[in-house]
Symmetry: C2
Subunit: 629 residues, 2 copies
């Protein structure tokens, strides 16, 4: 965590000085704004949190609820989400209070006596070390609390505008704030109407999204509705795995997904209530908590469940649905015009809760769209960048729904109908990368390079998220995770993995550094505003092959030790050395001739290039950035 650079900070360093729109931010919703976000769930809040790093932009987030979410809803946090929380600065705190999943335990009918369940298998999570972050369970309300803190402590000082429901929007062909949004007061003064104007609108307003309807996106059902009784309860039970994540199938076809919850006592059960017909009657919604508890007891036999307190209960009736596009540009006008309105999260994809994916994929939607909007609004990138949001995320949502459909079908299947008795747990282990959130791989586009030089850094697949590895920070000899220095600050990252000569000697690295600092073609020179700090747009790091004692800071090119801020202080946190025990060059397959790894603000690897291919680097950014000033 870096602070004090602009002068001594006495209090909590997480509270940044207000800047720009954060200095006199209006309490009431203004008439005009750069970005309006609709809905303060996970997708909307991460969008606002990312935009809060851009204090020159005015961002508002409206929410129908009168205040913070109290309880219920999603709770599964995949490792990719924790990695994202790390970039936003609250991973360590949420890990401390969350439940950590280390395995899934499979219970099935006892082969000897089908009226009883018995432990059949135990599938550990992440056996291949796909992430240094854990798989967590914590209530969505707490995730929103942490994002709210990030926003409130950010330079832009964003707080949600509660008590506003979205009604409709209209997009004008011209004008500075072309999207007119009609909002309706909820709670006090309910029904009062307000029209505000925005440059861009992000709809994060859930499965019944009115923003989606207003842009005429097609939301198709892929599979019939399915119902679950869900309960968050405190109970006494002799079921021995009550503190483990379990998939439980009983002999009579019943099944439960058991999710232990944060705090050591609470747990959630999803009790399967079967497929339901869409007759508009929703009879299943009348299922009582008593019925759900009774059904859970039948499935758990011979174990019993004595529920002492019900924290929350609901009947979910959800189908698998996907929206055909995630912005307001009809598919037949792709490329002909650019988007002004985006939809994210449940507004574009709904599915079962069984794989614990919803909140996670929704947050990645928001992380993807937010920096793109900011870069376009700040003039860093052309508006054509915005078309990549729908292009990148719609296919991810499709994959998600396919996966969830397969998984939830398997979970609902009677063991005797399976071809292989271990089909369920085998599938879980085989596909683990997907639910952990790391299977996303964006395809080549204006902001994802062709994998021409992938062989220079095999462990950083282009299009996938940058997978951190241990290194040693030279200045203070601290063992750190290279990826954890990537904060959600909206900057591009250039990781220069050095070639073999000692740092400071003639080398491809030295040439690259000189080019980056001085050439008119260099993205650093071309896209960094003249009146700002040299690290304002790009964060440039060096990773030496030598160990930290083999790097002489006095000989490191100034490119990697920039002087910034009002005092012109040196940034000492950009020069790293390989950890001899866990060499990052070995671990990530980096060529000993060096490589440049380009990483997007949302942590995805955008390109891998040789140190010598400066033209390639200049060309890559040339298609997605605009010269500063």
């Amino acid at each position: 965590m870096q602070f004090h650079q602009h002068g001594y900070v006495s209090g909590d360093p997480r509270i940044k000085p207000a800047e720009g729109t954060g200095i006199n931010r209006p309490v009431e919703l203004p008439a005009e704004m750069d970005v309006l976000i609709v809905g303060a769930g996970p997708a909307g809040m991460i969008t606002a949190a990312q935009l809060s790093a851009f204090p020159n932009l005015s961002t508002r987030i409206v929410e129908r609820r009168p205040g913070r979410l109290e309880i219920g809803q999603a709770d599964g946090i995949q490792a990719r989400s924790v990695e994202t929380f790390q970039a936003f600065g609250f991973a360590e705190r949420i890990i401390t209070e969350a439940y950590r999943i280390t395995a899934t335990v499979f219970w099935k009918p006892d082969p000897v006596d089908h009226t009883r369940i018995a432990r059949a298998a135990r599938a550990p999570d992440d056996t291949t070390g796909i992430s240094e972050f854990p798989h967590l369970i914590v209530n969505q309300a707490r995730v929103l609390d942490y994002f709210a803190e990030v926003m409130a402590y950010s330079p832009a000082r964003i707080t949600p505008d509660y008590g506003w429901a979205f009604q409709s929007l209209e997009i004008a062909a011209t004008g500075e704030y072309p999207v007119a949004v009609t909002l309706l007061r909820t709670g006090e003064n309910a029904g009062a109407v307000r029209v505000v104007h925005a440059k861009y609108v992000v709809g994060a307003d859930g499965a019944h999204s009115a923003v989606r309807e207003s842009i005429g996106a097609k939301h198709s059902s892929i599979h019939a509705n399915h119902a679950w009784g869900v309960m968050d309860v405190l109970a006494v039970t002799d079921f021995p795995d009550i503190r483990a994540k379990c998939a439980i199938q009983s002999g009579d076809g019943g099944n439960i997904l058991l999710i232990p919850r944060e705090g050591g006592s609470l747990f959630r059960m999803y009790v399967d209530l079967g497929d339901v017909v869409e007759d508009g009657q929703h009879a299943v919604r009348n299922t009582t908590i008593e019925t759900i508890i009774a059904k859970a007891n039948r499935i758990l036999h011979p174990y019993t469940l004595d529920v002492r307190s019900v924290a929350w209960t609901s009947v979910y009736e959800v189908g698998h649905r996907l929206t055909d596009r995630f912005d307001d540009v009809p598919l037949d006008q792709l490329g002909a015009r650019l988007p002004r309105v985006f939809i994210t999260g449940d507004a574009c994809h709904t599915h079962s809760a069984k794989a614990g994916q919803g909140m996670n994929v929704s947050m990645q939607d928001g992380f993807n769209v937010a920096w793109k909007i900011a870069h376009v609004l700040e003039g860093r990138s052309p508006a054509s960048l915005l078309a990549t949001y729908s292009a990148e995320r719609q296919v991810i949502a499709k994959d998600l729904i396919d996966f969830d459909l397969e998984w939830s079908t398997l979970m609902a299947m009677r063991p005797e109908d399976m071809e292989d008795p271990t089909e369920l747990e085998d599938y879980y282990v085989r596909t683990f990368e997907f639910p952990a959130g790391f299977m996303t791989q964006y395809q080549p586009s204006m902001l994802i390079g062709q994998p021409v030089h992938q062989d220079l850094a095999m462990g950083f697949p282009i299009g996938k998220r940058f997978k951190s590895a241990p290194v040693v920070r030279v200045a203070d000899a601290n063992p750190v995770q290279l990826g954890h220095h990537h904060r959600a600050d909206g900057r591009w990252r250039l990781y220069a993995f050095a070639d073999a000569p000692a740092i400071g000697e003639p080398s491809a690295l030295s040439d690259w550094a000189r080019w980056l600092s001085t050439s008119p073609e260099s993205p650093l020179v071309k896209y960094t505003p003249k009146d700002g700090d040299i690290d304002a747009v790009f964060d440039v790091k060096l990773i030496a092959q030598q160990d930290f004692e083999g790097v002489d800071l006095g000989r490191v090119p100034a490119t990697f030790m920039p002087r910034t801020g009002p005092f012109g202080l040196i940034d000492y946190e950009l020069v790293y050395a390989a950890d001899p025990v866990r060499d990052i060059f070995e671990a990530r397959g980096i060529d000993r001739g060096g490589a440049v790894v380009v990483v997007r603000p949302d942590q995805y690897v955008a390109n891998v290039l040789p140190l010598t291919d400066t033209a390639g680097l200049a060309g890559f950014f040339g298609q997605l950035m605009l010269a500063a000033g």
Copy 2:
């Protein structure tokens, strides 16, 4: 972190429900209180934080300052302190924002050219793995902020009473609140006098302690006063180790202790100004910041230091001083009467800042005295327990001063005067356990057993702090640190390391568990109030030799799965299994026949006993606890 046991908690689980005195805590200082703490520095704040876990007691903490500390003073946080912060629940947060020391770098006159300094040696911290916690640097102000949060979020809802200076106290021979304390308003209404009455007073009012004077304790000078110019600055320098902790000696006899600070840019320098005569003139205090900077530049030659911003500067003039006793009982009346007033921290021991010890030892003073006062006030223990505070801590302070004197003398010595050129760094490495805070070993007393059965658990030396080790929590198969479940909740811990038979089979462990739950001699039975939860006074844990899959929760004695709280829920966080890869029985030398390890509320090992020696366990607690009710 455990919560929800009393019903669903929607917000931050760190905020506990108010109880007892916390429910309607008076904003103004009341006339009477159980405990009055004087001084809101590290020693006072940890005392208040520990007492805040006892909501039946009324605790107030007065401080001369008008509000929170803004800047300056101590910043070294040894691993033992981070371990302590973990027990109070904020280690992970302070680690994130702190600077982490991994080594000390020694700079000495260049052997070839004595006018220049050169890097001579690098001594890594903690090469023997003495702690899983890091060695940190973070401003004292932030430590106080975190303790303030613990207090404010605790059931007792304690906040400091700022703007009150201690003037004097008188101890009456009788009465419920025998200590009359005269306080003086500072700031607004300065000079207004107030007399309050307390059962116990803790003086944590610093080196010039008025509480110490009021109890007539003798504060002796052990060594002449020494002066340092200290500065917290932002600067540009070509000194390559500016982000490393350095001991720098120049050829002309100057020396600097360089301490990088949190945030990546700020650093502290202690520039040695030499021994000073105590003539009452304090001429050295007139040393200007310009002089200190100029002196630093001379010492650092050939490197230069261009100071851009001075966050804080001071001239320290400190001697090595020790108080003969840490409470109000004169040495010749030891045992004849019991203490009512205690002094802690700088009030009892002052020394150089060179070893980064002051704040750390002071906090352990407070941690030691606070739970003892609470247990006496709650009727858990006889008042004789209070005499152990001075007995235990005065000798620690003596050791500290001896160590610091040796260390600061060595640091001030000219290299040419040393017998061995590597004497300084060798001493640092050899004595590392001391400054890390783990050398403290309390001697046998009413609350430290004789080491009769030490051989049953060689890795848990009686009298030293309980050194954590990795285990697996059985209920959720989570890899955890056994010691991290020890919260600063004022409870005694009984760790039952099982013998070889499977849990639930006939065994010494089974017999011990039955005895503990049912025998009238059992401390659990005898000292736990009948109207409270069975885990209110003792936290009883089981550690099996088998791996977690070899422990059947259905067969674990109920002693280790107690049912508590309004819903009678099972506590699943008390049953652990050895981690096959890092077996705690191997790592801590636990006898395969099992052992009981008794740990005090302040984390020190009080006793080690065989599972079969129930009489020994009963006898141990018999001398320091009082039957409940």
